[in-house]
């Protein structure tokens, strides 16, 4: 690990001001950043410890939603009874990620900003445009079984690893930030992540020193919420494919649907195509299969991850079947 200066922030404004410098980083749970610093993939000259800032509460909003502070740990969010009753999708997704030890440290804001687990991002002996811009992408012709099939380019096929963010995407969550100049922003979570294009090292629309202070959950939409994760072992592994679905069935027809995938793209992948295919359709296996075909129409495999395309379709069908109460 490279040496760094340590600063314990006592207020948001000073924390943002410090972190506006390009080699300064915020740290909260540290479960990803410390790991990357040990490997010298991240080498900040200064860390701004934000864990003592008053951002660790979950509050009701006037609209009937919840505002989750950026420093609320993943455990605290998943065990909150309001989250469990009104947003079971989110509790399930968080509990599907990592281990209890990690969830006890990892925070809401940090989870959103964790880096990819692409093996070539971690392997400093291999080229990686995300780690060293312009060096190339070793995953393209490499062991890319865990990599993305939607929305990526030949410059970077890394997948976003979060489960929590997939559920938040289906829930239309809004990421609230404060910038060093004191200005605030409310960023729909689907717009937080930047497409890799030819600059995959720039992962979000956040500006230097801009701090996530909370995530706003709108009131839960009607319908049954289900999170389903497929992985190489039963627990404590990143998703090959995951699906967050909210299905509102009226009689035997779908009235409304929300679908987001994990493990398939540089961000949690909201599928408006699948949603459009579902709304108004009979809640049947045929409709769920049609939604899967629509969702993956533009998918492209890179060899080892070709299996993700049919797996995503089947996982969507199984998730929707469960959400429709048919299983």
């Amino acid at each position: 690990m490279k040496p760094f200066r340590y600063e314990r922030a006592s207020e948001i404004a000073s924390a943002c001001a410090s972190a506006a410098q390009p080699t300064v980083k915020f740290i909260a749970g540290g479960t990803n950043l410390v790991d990357l610093m040990k490997l010298q993939i991240e080498a900040p000259t200064q860390l701004v410890d934000i864990t003592r800032l008053p951002l660790n509460r979950i509050e009701e909003t006037a609209e009937g939603g919840l505002r989750i502070g950026a420093l609320v740990t993943n455990s605290a969010a998943a065990v909150d009874m309001r989250v469990r009753r009104r947003y079971p999708l989110l509790a399930q997704a968080i509990l599907a990620g990592a281990s209890t030890q990690l969830r006890n440290k990892a925070t809401t804001g940090g989870n959103l900003l964790q880096r990819t687990r692409c093996a070539y991002f971690y392997d400093t002996t291999k080229p990686c445009n995300k780690r060293v811009p312009g060096s190339g992408c070793a995953a393209l012709a490499g062991l890319n079984r865990m990599n993305a099939v939607l929305g990526v380019t030949d410059d970077c096929i890394a997948a976003h690893p979060s489960d929590m963010a997939v559920a938040m995407t289906a829930l239309d969550a809004v990421v609230e930030t404060v910038a060093p100049d004191g200005s605030t922003r409310a960023i729909p979570i689907d717009e937080l992540y930047r497409p890799p294009g030819d600059t995959p090292h720039i992962e979000t629309v956040l500006t230097p020193g801009e701090l996530i202070v909370s995530v706003l959950l709108p009131p839960p939409p009607a319908g049954r919420q289900v999170y389903r994760k497929v992985r190489d072992r039963a627990s404590y592994a990143f998703a090959l494919v995951s699906v967050a679905a909210i299905l509102d069935v009226d009689g035997d027809r779908v009235r409304a649907a929300r679908v987001a995938f994990g493990g398939l793209s540089y961000k949690p992948w909201r599928s408006t195509e699948a949603e459009a295919a579902l709304v108004g359709a009979l809640a049947t296996r045929a409709a769920f299969d049609a939604a899967g075909i629509a969702a993956l129409r533009n998918a492209r495999g890179y060899g080892h991850n070709d299996f993700k395309i049919p797996l995503a379709r089947r996982t969507l069908r199984a998730t929707l079947t469960q959400a429709a109460g048919l299983s």
């Binding site: 760094f4 540290g30 410390v34 209890t100 400093t124 039963a234 627990s235």
Partner: protein
């Protein structure tokens, strides 16, 4: 290894690299992110106060020092083990302010003022903690390297379960589930045992949980 020794060893390694060919260096060097004056500046140490197993400690630490290295290298509390050092194996699990965490991914300076329980702090007046005794009774290990982490994790697991925490194995997350074997397995998935003593680990935890309910 103390910080000074670590620095010396780093310096030696850097010296070695400089004497090798440029091509080797290009391959061996990590990306040159943040290669700035901070690298050559003296390391500012940070004052850190910790309460560990009921004892108070005041330390001056390089801010890079993890809680795990603080315990093992600075305080000779070597019960917490370094397995992967990247949050994947759970051998370093300790309990901080009542919650289990991977001490290998926690910077000590960020835990100033915190209360820590390690495997060394579980036994009371020479009597094994019930979880330790159950691991012995059920043979919940072979080589034993992961065991301190397993036991700290299991002790915290029972508190979490008593507080009504659900897990991914819980059918309805709005309920507080019974501590079935699948629940125990899911909740212990952050602790890897390469000897695969899992059935006996689950049996030990189940026994202590059932004892708590009686």
């Amino acid at each position: 290894m103390n910080d000074l020794l670590k620095l010396r060893s780093m310096a030696t390694r850097r010296g070695f690299l400089q004497t090798t060919g440029a091509a080797t260096l290009a391959l061996a060097s990590p990306p040159a992110v943040g290669e700035t004056a901070a690298q050559t500046a003296p390391l500012p140490s940070e004052h850190v106060r910790l309460t560990i197993n009921g004892r108070h400690y005041a330390l001056d630490l390089d801010p890079r020092t993890t809680l795990l290295d603080t315990l093992r290298e600075h305080l000779a509390l070597t019960g917490s083990k370094k397995g992967c050092d990247q949050g994947q194996c759970g051998a370093c699990t300790i309990i901080v302010d009542g919650q289990r965490i991977n001490s290998c991914l926690a910077l000590a300076v960020m835990h100033d003022g915190d209360e820590i329980t390690t495997i060394e702090g579980l036994a009371e007046e020479g009597a094994l903690h019930p979880m330790q005794a159950a691991f012995v009774r059920h043979d919940g290990f072979q080589c034993g390297y992961c065991t301190p982490g397993q036991i700290c994790s299991a002790v915290a697991l029972l508190s979490e379960h008593q507080a009504g925490w659900p897990s991914y194995a819980t059918a309805d997350v709005a309920t507080a589930p019974a501590l079935t074997d699948p629940e125990i397995a899911e909740r212990m998935s952050g602790n890897i045992c390469r000897c695969s003593a899992y059935p006996n680990i689950v049996a030990a935890i189940r026994e202590v949980a059932e004892g708590d309910r009686q």
